[in-house]
Symmetry: C2
Subunit: 418 residues, 2 copies
Amino acid sequence: MKAEIIAVGSELLTPDKTDTNSLFMTARLNEAGFEVHRKTVIGDSAEDIAELVLEALSRSALIVISGGLGPTEDDLTRQAVACALRRPLADDAGLLEVIRRRFASRGLVMPKINERQAQVIEGAEALENLRGTAPGMWIEERNTRIALLPGPPGELQAMFLASVVPRLSTLCSGRRMAHRSVHIVGLTESDVDSRVAQIYMSYPGVRTTILASSAQITLNLSQWLMPGETAGELEELTARIAEALGDTVYSTSGETLEEIVGRMLRESGSSLAVAESCTSGTVAMRITRVPGSSDYFLGGVLCYANEVKKSLCAVPACLLEKHGAVSAEVAEALAQGVRRALNSSIGLSITGIAGPGGGSAEKPVGLVYFGLAGAHGCAHERRIIPGDRESIRERASTYALAYLRRFLLAESRRNLTP
Amino acid sequence: MKAEIIAVGSELLTPDKTDTNSLFMTARLNEAGFEVHRKTVIGDSAEDIAELVLEALSRSALIVISGGLGPTEDDLTRQAVACALRRPLADDAGLLEVIRRRFASRGLVMPKINERQAQVIEGAEALENLRGTAPGMWIEERNTRIALLPGPPGELQAMFLASVVPRLSTLCSGRRMAHRSVHIVGLTESDVDSRVAQIYMSYPGVRTTILASSAQITLNLSQWLMPGETAGELEELTARIAEALGDTVYSTSGETLEEIVGRMLRESGSSLAVAESCTSGTVAMRITRVPGSSDYFLGGVLCYANEVKKSLCAVPACLLEKHGAVSAEVAEALAQGVRRALNSSIGLSITGIAGPGGGSAEKPVGLVYFGLAGAHGCAHERRIIPGDRESIRERASTYALAYLRRFLLAESRRNLTP
């Protein structure tokens, strides 16, 4: 079953804004058995919208159109679709009352301009908007179904789940897409591909794509399933890939790196403190994205200036002078220092050169040291990270979390050894 | 002049990935006088691509196609466009040599599979790829120009600037789009609109759109200019809007909030330290995004746990007991404490409830206090921020920077007063 998504709005054709509704809808459509074969963004022109809808009718079983249902002169989706289908638009008194009541419930009088939102295309079902004034529409035209949805993401998502998803389930006779993601850190895209290409190519029923972003590689695996069919092939492939890539795989269940590190800290009853220099809060921000992280995260020190490394993390001045702030010695001293200052069981540190200035032949931009201190002593790791300032910082935070994960993994194995 | 952008790639039709190349290209196309009137994402199907190119030929003066120029079986853009134009594809010996040399320069032998990348559509000019192996193409077909560009953003952007932009300038007879952005913090979208709608509606030659994101409102103003015409109307409207909105406007020149705060700190010779509780590094991370921020940013304390508020920021235990960690008193004490601990001229603090847990009737999720301490004493601000955990933290960091900006503005005015 082929679906096509159309986003209406001239603002989506500027350099400042992109359509993101289609990502949310694609996930739900895939689950319901639809494959999205085309996405189009079109401006606020009734003629252009109508032309596109006519084209889409000839090639898609489902057309989802978002945007252009507001009350202003720019909102032309209702008229354009009516025109393409050669059906009249008529006022719906019941719908008008619903909109009027929505305004009244907030103590407002409905502006005259909103009356247009109560117009319905002949033969269409109105879809209730739980979060705004613009009703949606569901239209059947020969073998094609058309859904008109409001553009604001909150309104669209609520309407899609409440009114579109139930209608889809009757269309696809139970065919659906199952999905798994394998998340990897510490290998390049071509490393990953060369290690697993032979494996995934032997599962032609599973579609495998590789996505590289900010020091992490994700393998997205998906398989279409007929009614009653289980995702055996998908599960088997996921397990074989995870085995081939070993410890570099941190998740096959959708958990993020910060969620996994958080779970491991919680399970081992550990507490964490961080000392961040070049990343300046990026690691702490990620760790505390996870609700409940206050159970294991105490806080830390943003030791951007060397003075702060000395005063709050007790890094000896002689270490800074001898080895420089970006060194293995200072990384370990920072990890130990922040561990003591905050009285945590583990201290994690990051010190590096994010650029664009500050690099040298010996210590180039992108050089980052990571330090870890625990009950059994301390350790460090060195990396040279490519990219600009922003991506060096972002990647460094990922490597820091991955290093902490391996440290916690080793600790838990140590505890398992008699 | 109408331009149309086509992104080729089945991965762009999954829930995981979206086309972003079009944003970069739209900005450059607008500057060169083209209006983007349609954007389409299409999968790796030669038939679908060819059909779309045929449609586009009838409605667009320029068609930019990205992706599908790689060496694998999935890369079908060359064949599909050749087919739509009914022109043959032929091997180009010179191009093959360029690709072979590119591999050789990295010590590699060109795989057989890459030979396909040296195929050129009859009558097309090959466009050099400065960052990868896939050459692009420039094709003239009756009144339409077609550009084929590689999908990876780094390769596409370099090729677009080096080979496409110069070709555009000969097409548009100097018509171009001028652009200005007015950045606002501290007002809602409807506040902004009600204060300036009358003003911008009296400039019909300037297109004005409002964009709300994470506590900031941006007014994007753009005006098409004929050759020799200046952007007088645009500049006048920008100035009138800035005047009407007063201090809530922090930039009309494209500077970010963190750049502005950084510039003000540098100009006043001040240094900054931060104490972050609920935002846990978000503010520091933003401040240090700016290259050279080490000139004024010393660092700070991530005081997630109350123990850290006491030990590193010297917040008296009795204040925490009496008023709670999320209070005006503790916000001010944190700002003063971190200022003293780091010996900075200004201390900034954030303490709040980001949720989802931890809220109460008296102190709901979203309640955030901001503290500032300087040579002349300290102050605080209280806000209740809507949204989920992530957006509360992100918005709180914006409000913190905006509060710091107003503080620095007041300081500079104080210094100007005799």
